[in-house]
């Protein structure tokens, strides 16, 4: 068979990567807060996570509008995005919108005073918001995962990978926010074990996804794998994602759990570790989107 033929398509670019990343961080921040509150881990972390979630997801949605070809010239067409929930994009925008509203209410309603009293927070609302937060995280993976024409994305490991990544980056953003607001890092250590589990799971799922790609019968999928591990994306993958985004947080948290690792729980090391997780999470989305584009629009005859 001859080489694939280029079709010169415009494809999804960096705004989509940022949008998927921010939506994931926002939903992950909310779940971190939800967990922290339910488990009584840290009130400060819970407040910061709730406050972060709504604005982050709103920012992501705004980026999506900017990325639409007709989003700025014909903004009223955005209404149509709510009319076809059989499309993963339409369904996702529904979930995202519901979550955004709930997260803003849960994060900020208590600041509003009504007849001299602060508005109460509703436990049921928090539960629904937490469920939709999981929906948002899975959606960012399924958006890509349902595209049969990009077999590199088209497997069940991808939504799981983005779910785990959203949880770990959301937690990192929340912990970092908490440290920045309070200039103290106490309470962060309580999340160390959870963090090890998340980063470990992320590495494992990523390995599974890459194994699928490496052994795929589709040439384009194998070239996606090649691009990530050996080609143009390899430096970002090995240095940015594997080393900075996965190995550093894993080692940090493993050492941090030992008595001698207490020094790591000072504000600056915590912030550096959170930054590593966030950078790694962003690069993960970038690599997955970019690698899926390798060979896309090429039609093999």
């Amino acid at each position: 068979m001859p080489d694939p033929i280029p079709a010169e398509q415009t494809t999804w670019g960096s705004l989509v990567v940022i949008y998927l990343f921010i939506a994931g961080v926002g939903a992950g921040a909310y779940l971190t807060a939800w967990w922290a509150e339910r488990r009584g881990l840290s009130d400060r972390v819970a407040v910061v996570g709730r406050r972060l979630a709504g604005p982050l997801v709103a920012l992501g949605a705004l980026l999506l509008v900017f990325d639409l070809g007709a989003g700025l010239t014909h903004p009223w067409r955005i209404v149509w995005l709510y009319t076809h929930p059989t499309s993963m994009m339409s369904l996702g925008i529904w979930i995202l919108s519901v979550f955004m509203v709930l997260a803003v209410i849960d994060g900020y309603a208590s600041l509003v005073k009504f007849r001299g009293r602060r508005l109460p927070r509703l436990r049921a609302l928090g539960t629904v918001a937490a469920v939709t937060a999981v929906g948002v995280m899975v959606y960012t993976g399924l958006l890509l995962g349902v595209i049969g024409a990009v077999p590199f994305w088209n497997n069940p490991a991808l939504p799981l990978l983005f779910l785990v990544s959203a949880l770990s980056t959301g937690m990192a953003a929340t912990l970092a926010g908490s440290v920045i607001v309070s200039r103290r890092a106490d309470g962060v250590a309580a999340f160390g074990g959870l963090h090890i589990g998340l980063v470990g799971t992320e590495a494992l799922v990523l390995a599974v996804l890459l194994f699928f790609a490496a052994t795929s019968h589709q040439a384009t999928t194998r070239s996606s794998f090649q691009a990530i591990t050996q080609g143009g994306l390899a430096p970002v993958f090995w240095l940015g994602l594997v080393t900075l985004g996965l190995a550093v947080p894993l080692v940090y948290n493993l050492i941090g759990r030992r008595p001698a690792g207490a020094v790591l729980h000072a504000p600056v090391p915590v912030l550096l570790e959170c930054a590593a997780v966030l950078i790694g999470g962003f690069l993960l989305r970038h690599l997955i989107v970019a690698a899926g584009m390798v060979g896309h629009g090429f039609v093999s005859i």
């Binding site: 070809g69 995005l81 009319t83 005859i301």
Partner: protein, 230 residues
Amino acid sequence: MARWGMTIDLDLCIGCEACTVACKANNFTPSGVSWLRIVKDEAGQFPNVTRLPFPLQCQQCAKAPCVDVCPTGATYVRDDGIVAVNYDKCVGCQYCVLACPYGARTFVEDLAPYYPAGKTEFELFAGLLGGEPDAATGLPGRHQAGVVEKCVFCVQKIESGIAAGLTPGVDADATPACVVTCIAGARVFGDLDDPDSAVSRKASSSGAFRFHEEYGTEPNIYYLPARQLA
């Protein structure tokens, strides 16, 4: 209701691109946009090699992945089998561009002139014709920046032809431009639901195949294979 379909005989196609030009001339596609193209394939081992032209455009799938993913319903399958785009509902998310396994969709980034010096006579003429939307279809004759376009089987010719009492696939004025112009007669158009139509007979002849049948998209374009080289 008819189900419009096409056959493309790869044994007759000489890759002259007359269809590519006829498509542009009839649909006034913007600069950088072509609804059909001829993929120049190769076959054989040196020194016995040959080039195989493979005309490629929207396959008008009955189970179109682009329709499944469209979040606004801008892309839809018409009752006559044509996959159409309502530009006024398209938000330009390009999800369909990703989903189409045939690379048949193009995002129109802008409506820049063909050449930097300004619009050519062709573009001025196209602009005159394309000023008002086609009320019935919302389709060709006009273009928008920021939306996704594709081949629609020259639906405006089919509809105006039928209204004038003509038969698509038989009368040139009711038949897609690429079919009318093909100098080799490689393209046949007509109603696939009519077993006696020329297109039905060709589509059911031996060796006829649909492009990447394994995708399960059920295209309404059938190809006939090129003869193997000795």
